[in-house]
Symmetry: C2
Subunit: 321 residues, 2 copies
Amino acid sequence: MSESTVLVLGSDPPPKLDRLTGRARVIFTDEDSLADRLPTADVLLAWDFTSDAIRRAWPVEGPRPRWVHTASAGVDQLLCPALVADDTLVTNARGVFEQPIAEYVAGLVIAMAKDFYGSWELQRQRRWQHRETLRLAGSRAVVVGSGPIGRAIGSTLLALGVKVDLVGRRERPDDPQFGLVHASDALNGLLPQADWVICAAPLTEATRGLFGKDAFARMAPRARFINVGRGPLVVEDALVAALREWRIAAAALDVFEEEPLTADSPLWDVPHLIVSPHMSGDTLGWRDALAEQFQDNFERWSAGEPLDNLVDKRLGYVPVQ
Amino acid sequence: MSESTVLVLGSDPPPKLDRLTGRARVIFTDEDSLADRLPTADVLLAWDFTSDAIRRAWPVEGPRPRWVHTASAGVDQLLCPALVADDTLVTNARGVFEQPIAEYVAGLVIAMAKDFYGSWELQRQRRWQHRETLRLAGSRAVVVGSGPIGRAIGSTLLALGVKVDLVGRRERPDDPQFGLVHASDALNGLLPQADWVICAAPLTEATRGLFGKDAFARMAPRARFINVGRGPLVVEDALVAALREWRIAAAALDVFEEEPLTADSPLWDVPHLIVSPHMSGDTLGWRDALAEQFQDNFERWSAGEPLDNLVDKRLGYVPVQ
């Protein structure tokens, strides 16, 4: 059997792919050389998952990789019509980010409920100012995204006594953990009652701009909004307006329409907006976990076995079993 | 039956005691008039639970209240040898603060694990700087205090996937939630392995200064310490030294040796020390909940029934059943 060629986009830092030694030819590429090298590769590892170069370089005809794996949960940066249309398999990093992101979101919810940011500002001012804060138990969250990340967020909030409405693409009755999983068209009806609105949906044509002027207008003035999905799920201008006009209470964004945020972005100092640099899922060792996961799947590939985390390219995510 | 006299220490803001109307004579007092009024009262409500006036004014002989209720979980401000020795009943506010404090501690743990404070500082500087953070799941916490507050903290951390060692006064095997509850003399052996050390113990002569130089020396450099019990459980100078010398990673104090902190306290700007103004348990409506709880107990008192939340005055807390 001839050695496979694994093309790796991105090398800063490079993945540890020791298990491929002697079993695959590993070639690193940058964005500029990607188009030239794609026809020579059997497998493409999108290690730099922030790049949209694959979408731009994917060949419309001729030889191309038979399998693309991305070291991220979202595949929005990757998919283009040609890749969706052909028979190349796409897999993602499902399993690595769920628990860290759920912890991160739970922390943001508590930090907002308990006004940690207010306390920290008062500490800077050396001022002792007691306040009464919110109780999580009994509050109500809407979590948009019913894939593994949304579910992990929902489970963690349930464990904290929060009532959780999970919203997916399609309605699913009798979910063992959440009861009814709502269809996306139920979202508008759920927003007015929510204390917490959490976006953990995949970015697809159906979800782009999901949180715009209309969605924020439906939220209660006490509502707090968190986005850990993808930036373009939110219309940033609409969120900023909602915060500036006190139509919602606070928000936290870990993802943005354009990343990284530049120093002159207006988002850095919007009142009651917490900004973090797309890090909610990235715990110590995450890169090694991603490399291990790819190598596990490569073993399946070599053995002719079905791949894990196979993305439905038309849906734009791995369907829940 | 003659009307009872209920003396209330503190009135800023006053408790809502509507249910006592027609059933008790309610008299408000400040610290200065307390000693004069104590002999006339059947019941004393320590509404201002931060005051140590009761300890100072409690009569050594003569008439005195037969029941003292404090609107706090801790009774350390209240108990003096004369009150411990006589047959006056003491009750506390067990049940009001557990869940809010557990939420608060969970939030602090996550905020530290995910470096929310670093992110907020970077936001102020308009700097996009991705970092890798800690995963809670699989980390290890030692919670000191096996009363309702310590247990609620422990349960919440367990739900977040943290391994929890609960430490109480006496060893209790086979706890349904925590397995072995450790005796206080096991603490030294547990500290070196802990990622999180959380103090939620009552302040008694046995626990005063529990977290001093020796305890901080036993903790790992990665350890993060949180105190939501009472200030004097911690030797503040020893904590500050441990932080300044990087012997532990971070700490958060919600309670202090002297409260409120004055503007010139050195604690406001110790590196990696989070300071908040004794508010971890105080969620919206907490004062009303405290007043309701006292009135519920007053109904038991009036009916000659056993009181709820009876403090063991020699132990200094309500013993776990």
